[in-house]
Symmetry: C2
């Protein structure tokens, strides 16, 4: 399977990225577009797949992310933590007639809470396999839904999701704050003031309205509203991520650089040094590792 | 001024309610429609006012709410706390050529935070004037932006806004949770479980994603997602409202009955008994009190 190369697709809610990987393991072509799963009409996945093959070649497909969710193409499993790459490779959802496979997601449950992830797990294992992330430690993966994953010996033993990105986006699109939230967010003083409040356990839904009141009463500059609000949410997120986790082995922030630098600044405000890692290479390394395990299993 | 009667308008962001008040102080006609300030085109207020007079009569107008905000018709002041009805009556914004007046809002600021309200202040003073609310105590006024107001001797001495209603609405319209949030919210067991988590200081942005994970993994019934989420947000709101306020003199929840009963249930979960009051009569009593003060001042 996949010995002549394959196409790897990171298929999320609003975006997808495809890569052609040759028999030599090298990336020989790629694209990114806004055809996330919400951009595919019901029954439209076979056509969306054909379009990917037109762009990248007539090769088998291996996909990860929300394409395997209950809103995606075919629902793939969630495998419970603790889990490693071999767990994923043994639980692929195969769509034989389309020469395609979907990587399962991960689930976590204990007495008090439950959680799920899809897509980030491939990056987490790939980052370990390629040496970007140590096999033990805490990994923060910001995005629409930020994930805090505890890694032990290259396995994910637990994780927690915080919907910071989605909430900031909702507030920016349509809320009493939206007129101010379109501004650029830099990790400067206003951002750090927000982080400090979020870290300190501020009442989020009250502090959010406080942004409006602060601007109206001249206590917060309008151009500071976006970085302050972003800092407030990210500060609360970091407080949640650090609570009760053992991060003695180090913290890595993995994802898009414009987000990882905000989280690294917030972690710095919390007295934690974090290493930043770009998630794109980690995805390809993770898919390559899964493909290699499947070859050995076959 | 207003000796032959007047029209009182409670003009909010998404709705408006108008009442014709006769020389005898009685309500002789009313209407409610969805022409909140966001439904009025730029420059459209004189026409919107004319429409109100066509419905209710050619009388002077006294208005309160977001019509006096920076997004409304004419920006009215915010008068700082502590403030009573006479403070509002002395600071009306008069639009003489339209025979109209807008009641100012209230502001609160101390070393750590700032806050604003528009519209609720009229209800607060009216509720005291008509004996619905005691002159001392804590008043919770749920709505798009819930207000917790501390009353002393009939004056508002401080308040805090929590944007619970707006956040629940945003999540219901367009978020990873929206498919489940359209269900009815009753103050039953799922609501109370959410309240308990919110009261206990749960990490809101993490617990919100936990709703999705809980449903996907079968730990939360889909029909419980809406009441649980509402309870979570209202519980956090109540924790904020009770923190650091002196409510020994009693708590009143004033507003629309479908909201006051949820807040009363959440307060009960927090071990606090609250009295529920309908806000509509309080608004008319508040406007009547302001009109009477203006008559005495004139």
């Amino acid at each position: 399977m996949w010995t002549n190369g394959y196409i790897a697709v990171d298929w999320g809610t609003t975006n997808r990225r495809g890569y052609r990987i040759g028999a030599d393991g090298r990336c020989g072509g790629e694209f990114e577009d806004a055809k996330g799963i919400t951009g595919v009409a019901p029954g439209g996945f076979p056509a969306a797949i054909a379009e990917i093959r037109e762009r990248l070649g007539d090769l088998p497909l291996i996909m990860a992310g929300m394409v395997g969710s209950n809103r995606g193409w075919v629902e793939a499993a969630y495998v419970p933590c603790p889990a490693g790459p071999e767990t994923l490779a043994r639980s692929l959802t195969i769509i034989a007639e389309e020469r395609a496979a979907i990587v399962p997601g991960l689930s976590f449950a204990d007495r008090t809470r439950a959680d799920v992830m899809r897509g980030e797990e491939v990056q987490l294992f790939g980052a370990v396999a390629s040496g970007l992330v140590p096999p033990d430690g805490l990994v923060c993966h910001p995005g629409t839904h930020n994930k805090w994953a505890t890694m032990e010996n290259g396995h994910v033993t637990g994780f927690r999701t915080v919907m910071t990105g989605e909430l900031f986006s909702l507030l920016g699109e349509k809320s009493i704050l939206s007129q101010w939230l379109g501004a650029d967010v830099e990790p400067g003083p206003a951002f750090r003031r927000g982080v400090a409040q979020g870290l300190g356990g501020a009442a989020l839904t009250a502090e959010l309205f406080g942004v409006r009141a602060g601007v109206l009463l001249g206590r917060l500059a309008p151009e500071d509203a976006a970085p302050f609000t972003s800092g407030l949410l990210i500060g609360a997120d970091v407080a949640t991520g650090l609570a009760g986790t053992d991060h003695g082995a180090g913290i890595v922030v993995m994802g898009r650089p414009e987000l990882t630098r905000l989280y690294a600044a917030a972690l710095d405000e919390a007295g934690q040094q974090a290493q930043e890692v770009d998630g794109e290479q980690a995805f390809l390394a993770g898919i390559a590792e899964i493909a290699e395990i499947v070859r050995q299993l076959a």
